[in-house]
């Protein structure tokens, strides 16, 4: 669409800019302020430059949570994106079956984060949960409170349960925008299922899948509540992701300076990755 050049449009976005400036810029400046100071008490503080940043970068705990976080996000994307596409391909396109399937799919998305945690905390317990008792009955040792691997499996399964529907709904929106004529043409050419997917469906899903990857990366990278409720970051620190580490530092230990420096670097990583995806998205929309 050709847009008109008119700087008066700024008046229309002014309310948003003011609101977001109040709720984002002011707090962010506070964080910047803390990150370069050493605070001893209410009125005692000293400027120390990038000392906290240096300390945080060298902190082995922070490094470990960072590696864990990357690993988690990569696993999540590797499972949820293909699975979501598969589910979307299986969804009926029209009629009440389609509506029903969409509503059922969307239910996990409506569950508050801590309730998701509560559900899985019980569901995966070996003595009282369906999942835990079934897996143990199959002869596989599984106990997420004692064993790190089990804890990871639980958290990943929970996230797949929680967010694959988002990917599926996005992919479905892309699929539904394909005109029937495309499929008819493919049928006339006797195109294989794989060819239909590769040359018709996948290209049409490109922009929605980019959005899906972007959203899933961002949200999995800042996951806090669900693993916190289920494992509390344990056993040991096996599931201590970046946000859990950060909240422990800021609220638990009240280490304002280090926590602030940590926050800024954390935010910066998300910003960089998201910028890459955002640029890709812009390019897809432009073409």
């Amino acid at each position: 669409m050709n847009k008109i050049e008119d700087n008066r449009a700024w008046f229309l976005i002014l309310p948003v800019v003011l609101l977001v400036a109040f709720s984002a810029v002011v707090p962010l400046m506070t964080v910047v302020n803390y990150s370069v100071q050493d605070i001893f008490g209410p009125h005692q503080r000293a400027f120390i430059g990038v000392e906290w940043f240096r300390e945080m970068l060298r902190d082995p705990d922070v490094q470990a949570s960072f590696v864990r976080q990357i690993l988690f996000s990569v696993i999540i994307l590797a499972i949820e994106i293909p699975l979501g596409v598969l589910v979307a391909l299986g969804l009926p396109r029209k009629g009440w079956k389609s509506s029903l399937a969409i509503v059922l799919l969307a239910i996990p998305l409506l569950v508050p984060f801590n309730v998701v945690g509560t559900i899985w905390q019980v569901y995966a317990r070996p003595e009282i949960g369906l999942l835990g008792s079934t897996v143990n009955a199959l002869g596989i040792p599984y106990n997420y409170t004692a064993d790190g691997i089990s804890a990871w499996v639980t958290i990943v399964a929970m996230d797949v349960w929680h967010w694959t529907p988002l990917v599926a709904l996005l992919a479905f929106a892309g699929l539904r925008s394909i005109p029937d004529a495309y499929y008819q043409a493919a049928r006339i050419d006797a195109a294989s299922r794989l060819a239909v997917f590769r040359y018709i469906e996948l290209p049409k899903m490109r922009s929605v899948l980019t959005i899906a990857i972007l959203l899933r990366f961002m949200d999995s990278f800042m996951i806090y509540t669900e693993p916190f409720v289920v494992t509390g970051g344990g056993p040991g620190s096996a599931t201590t992701f970046l946000s859990i580490r950060l909240v422990n530092m800021a609220v638990g230990q009240f280490d304002l300076g280090p926590a602030a420096a940590f926050s800024l670097m954390y935010f910066l990583v998300i910003l960089l990755v998201s910028y890459v995806f955002y640029t890709i998205l812009q390019r897809i929309n432009a073409s």
């Binding site: 309310p15 800019v17 569950v111 509560t118 954390y266 998300i270």
Partner: protein, 292 residues
């Protein structure tokens, strides 16, 4: 079903058209089975929550049988009759509705500006808004606490409603912009030629055209505000305590009443389910940020 498909494929194997149809039927079947499997995986944990909500704590801790033992609605009755429980439910609804109204009313004009006009810094502002959707709430925890305490909003629904604008406003702008870009610009031009002022055009002509988009956006604001815990917990203590927070405190205080907790959990899922039915036809488009 399987044998049916085979019979048809054997009978009409000669013509390529029926071959395509039978492979289509088989594909359908595989797709349906996969979907059924996935939906089962989705529903079992929800079922487990409902099952727990109907049981007494002692029974919950006793076994992992599939069916609930001695089911009753006692847990729900406790929540509905105890003001400390149901007030938190009302508190949640208050800030969620407040947030949806604020988000929509500021996002509507902004989304229109982004979809129709070019102006200095438009792309930068758009990306900047978008970065706020990406900010980990954990980063904003302490500053938010101090900011809202300083302006006297701590422990009021306004604090949570405003804090949730951090991620809901950018999302609302993004979704609405997608829906608005789908409306042909000729409509605006015709209206201006006909002598409509901008506010009159915007409210009487443009908004009705994108009401599906507005509905979906409202739903998303509602949903994301409703399910958030970290900021809601940080910005409230007693007066404005939301249901999700009441649940976390019930865990530490009363020694894990799983039945009560599960009933409260079921109740937190209901409002979303009530709303989702109305937007079911647009929700896929909404998740795609109005861009399909």
């Amino acid at each position: 079903m399987v044998s049916d498909a085979n019979v048809t494929s054997l009978a009409d194997a000669a013509t390529p058209r029926s071959k395509a149809r039978s492979s289509g039927a088989r594909r359908h079947l595989v797709g349906a089975m996969l979907l059924g499997l996935f939906l089962t995986f989705q529903m079992l944990p929800i079922y487990w929550l409902v099952r727990m909500s109907l049981m007494k704590p002692a029974d919950i801790m006793a076994s992992a049988d599939f069916l609930p033992k001695a089911p009753s609605f006692d847990n729900y009755m406790t929540i509905f009759t105890d003001p400390t429980w149901y007030n938190t439910y009302i508190n949640s609804l208050t800030y969620v509705i407040l947030n949806s109204i604020i988000s929509l009313s500021v996002a509507l004009p902004a989304a229109y500006a982004f979809s129709r006009y070019k102006f200095i810094g438009d792309k930068h502002v758009f990306f900047w808004l978008f970065t706020n959707r990406m900010a980990p709430p954990a980063v904003f925890l302490l500053p938010f606490f101090q900011l809202y305490s300083a302006v006297g909003l701590f422990d009021t629904p306004f604090a949570v409603a405003l804090a949730h604008c951090l991620f809901n406003v950018p999302l609302a702008v993004w979704i609405l912009e997608g829906f608005m870009s789908g409306v042909p610009k000729e409509i605006d031009e015709t209206a201006y030629v006909d002598g409509y002022s901008f506010p009159r055009f915007f409210i009487t002509i443009f908004l009705p055209l994108i009401r599906a988009g507005i509905g979906v956006t409202a739903f998303f604001c509602f949903m994301f505000s409703w399910i958030e815990l970290l900021l809601a917990r940080t910005l409230t203590s007693v007066e404005a305590k939301p249901i999700v927070v009441a649940m976390t405190r019930a865990v530490s205080a009363s020694g894990l009443d799983w039945g009560l907790l599960a009933a409260a959990g079921v109740l937190t899922i209901l409002p979303g389910m009530a709303v989702i039915w109305f937007v079911r036809n647009y929700i896929a488009k909404g998740f795609a940020l109005g861009r399909v």
